[in-house]
């Protein structure tokens, strides 16, 4: 596949992520922060996000698996995940966290378990999407092309 084609594919793909709500404007901010002095910024941050989130999700799973669930702790983890996902621009994950937190307040064990599933699902989805997108970018760069800047209406 030649570079131009790859670039078009990337643009379309990235746009779809925004349209479908996986990513929001915050992600654009990250992309804009990337420059020559730091050409891998987005990849680095996203990787960091993945590592951190997986840890948090594990902690959450464990915390909710206890006989006596410590909702404060659960809430703290979710809050953290909310913060990092919103900073990355992972909108759907963030929204799932918001819902999660309200159930934590209610100390509703069933609802929170469901929320955990929801968050995990959203997380794996966005992880998948981001990885695909980043792979496309890599291919373009490897082929000597440059990554097109996405311009979105919002």
């Amino acid at each position: 596949m030649e570079v131009g084609q790859m670039q078009r594919r990337l643009v379309d793909y990235t746009k779809s992520l925004f349209m479908e709500g996986f990513l929001d404007a915050q992600f654009l901010q990250l992309q804009q922060l990337q420059d020559e002095s730091n050409p891998d910024f987005v990849v680095e941050v996203v990787s960091l996000f993945f590592d951190d989130s997986e840890k948090l999700l594990n902690d959450l799973t464990m915390a909710l698996d206890q006989p006596n669930v410590d909702f404060k702790k659960v809430d703290a983890h979710v809050h953290q995940l909310k913060g990092s996902s919103s900073s990355i621009g992972a909108q759907r994950v963030k929204n799932a966290c918001i819902a999660f937190r309200s159930f934590c307040e209610e100390q509703n064990i069933d609802a929170t378990l469901r929320c955990l599933q929801q968050v995990k699902q959203e997380y794996y989805l966005v992880k998948n999407k981001l990885e695909t997108m980043l792979r496309l970018e890599q291919q373009i760069v490897a082929a000597g092309g440059s990554i097109p800047m996405i311009e979105l209406g919002f």
Partner: protein
């Protein structure tokens, strides 16, 4: 204590601030090179923030633990200009860190969190944060953080410079330092906020010293412990800077240093106890213009201090004396809102007094707010004036004028609210209170800039309040006076008071029939005792 090799303060108002950092002088590139310490346990956020701050050309140090941040700050007191910290951290609560930094290093601190609940934001305010950012933080939000540094420097500089200045001249003679915060409100002496006394004291001492600039005292943990020990020994009620200084017996420490630290400490204690003993702190700015006029409403003095637009003065006087009863409409010029507000401030006090006295009088706002005053109302005013003695400031709004009165009411509520503000959980509304009305409360360059960025209003129970905009400018008015106060404590503390309007506002409904001080205003302001 820092010697003069610490930061040197030049004119801080402009961008020619010179930042000394280990010998590097970055002049005229400001705010580039601003030394920021960012603390967040979330590695993703930390990395993003670091990148953003670097993109703003700041000099960034990142840290993922509060303890580490504190020790970094302690080791290198002059190494940073501003700190940005997350609220929720595992090893130490962000607010705790904020307190430490405020007490020990007196650096501006910005709090941030994904949590945008008003309570949390309020906490930021009361703990002395100079700003609060909601995550996700955008780079635009970071571009302006340098303003907090400049502002703080400016305020400190101003403190040092005050000696026999005009402002001082207007103030009442120095009061006994023994007057405690809580008692000062009772003394009917509005200005007796500690800050003012400190200023005066500082000025007095200033006359003795030949230096204008005071080197910054670094309140290390040990020093602070000594301070606390001294305070406890004396008893918090009786702890005055002079005696504390004596007890501490630290060479090179001046009474002013102790005084300003004491003020912060008291605020801190008050926050801890959740009770505001007295709002006079907040009133500080309000008080200033009105010093002499406190007791009886001295319109003349008010006018003289420029607080009272001449026209309004005339109108008020006329109204007060019932001379204008003949007119069916008081020709109140629509004074520009700002003007009204500056005028309003003194009124706050009076308003309260009014409440006391005028229960069912129809009151009208005579100060420049165009009102369609009916003769009846005038008569009411007149009546009021008579009953009040010299209080001819209409305080509460008559039903028909509710819209105009609202702002006044709100303003009045403010000072009173202050007394309660710390208690009241609705305090968190402060920034939000005005927002539904469409004006960010702190929009006018207030000293504090707790910009919550969420205009989510809550608890605004008086839907009829339209003139929030007025209120906001009103709020700004006092804020302008905060410059005398150390760092953040003053303005931050005062804002909450405003928020208290919300609950108090509810009493608007009662207003028509009874203006009751009991709505909660009264207790804080014993000025009424003087007035009635």
């Amino acid at each position: 204590m820092n010697s003069s090799s610490g930061k040197s303060y030049m004119s801080t108002a402009s961008s020619s601030v010179i930042w000394k950092a280990g010998g590097d002088v970055v002049a005229d590139q400001f705010p580039a090179g601003l030394r920021v310490l960012v603390v967040d346990d979330d590695p993703t956020c930390l990395m993003i923030l670091e990148k953003m701050l670097k993109a703003c050309q700041y000099n960034v140090t990142k840290c993922n633990r509060a303890e580490t941040a504190l020790s970094m700050l302690r080791e290198n007191r002059n190494g940073f200009d501003i700190v940005i910290s997350d609220v929720h951290m595992p090893d130490m609560d962000g607010f705790k860190l904020l307190e430490h930094i405020g007490l020990e290093m007196d650096l501006p601190v910005i709090m941030m969190s994904a949590d945008d609940g008003k309570n949390v934001v309020m906490k930021g305010v009361t703990h002395g944060a100079c700003d609060y950012l909601i995550k996700p933080v955008r780079i635009e939000a970071l571009k302006n953080i340098w303003q907090h540094v400049v502002r703080k420097r400016k305020n400190e500089w101003k403190d040092f410079e005050q000696s026999g200045s005009v402002e001082e001249g207007d103030r009442q003679p120095k009061q006994s330092e023994d007057a405690d915060y809580s008692s000062s409100a009772n003394e009917g002496n509005w200005k007796s906020s500690k800050r003012r006394k400190d200023d005066e004291d500082e000025n007095d001492e200033r006359d003795d010293t030949s230096t204008l600039k005071k080197p910054r005292v670094v309140w290390s943990v040990e020093l602070h412990q000594q301070f606390v020990a001294a305070v406890n020994q004396l008893g918090i009620e009786k702890a005055v800077p002079k005696k504390i200084l004596e007890l501490m017996n630290v060479p090179g420490l001046t009474r002013e240093n102790v005084a300003s630290h004491l003020q912060k400490y008291r605020l801190y204690l008050r926050r801890l106890s959740g009770v505001s003993q007295h709002p006079s702190n907040l009133n500080n700015s309000f008080m200033n213009p009105q010093d002499a006029t406190f007791g009886p409403l001295d319109l003349q003095a008010l006018a003289a201090t420029g607080q009272l637009p001449a026209q309004s003065l005339a109108t008020l006087q006329a109204a007060g004396l019932g001379r204008s009863t003949a007119k069916s409409g008081i020709p109140m010029p629509l004074v520009d809102q700002r003007n009204i507000f500056s005028f309003e401030n003194p009124k706050l006090r009076f308003g309260e007094a009014q409440q006391h006295v005028n229960n069912n009088k129809q009151m009208n706002l005579l100060h420049g707010i165009p009102t369609t005053m009916e003769p009846k109302q005038l008569a009411g005013l007149h009546h009021t004036a008579q009953s009040m003695g010299n209080m001819n400031m209409p305080v509460l709004s008559h039903g028909s004028q509710s819209s105009q009165n609202n702002p006044l009411l709100m303003q009045m509520a403010q000072p009173q609210a202050r007394g309660q503000m710390l208690n009241d959980s609705t305090v968190g509304l402060a920034p939000r209170l005005l927002s539904p009305m469409g004006q960010p409360m702190l929009s006018n360059g207030m000293a504090t800039n707790v910009s919550t960025r969420n205009g989510v209003p809550e608890n605004i129970r008086a839907p009829s309040y339209n003139p929030v905009s007025q209120t906001s400018s009103m709020l700004n008015f006092p804020m302008n006076h905060t410059s005398e106060l150390p760092g953040n404590s003053f303005p931050l503390v005062s804002t909450p008071g405003i928020s208290n309007l919300a609950p108090k506002v509810a009493f608007q409904e009662d207003v028509n029939s009874e203006i009751k001080g009991s709505v909660g205003f009264m207790p804080s302001y014993d000025i009424f005792n003087d007035l009635t």
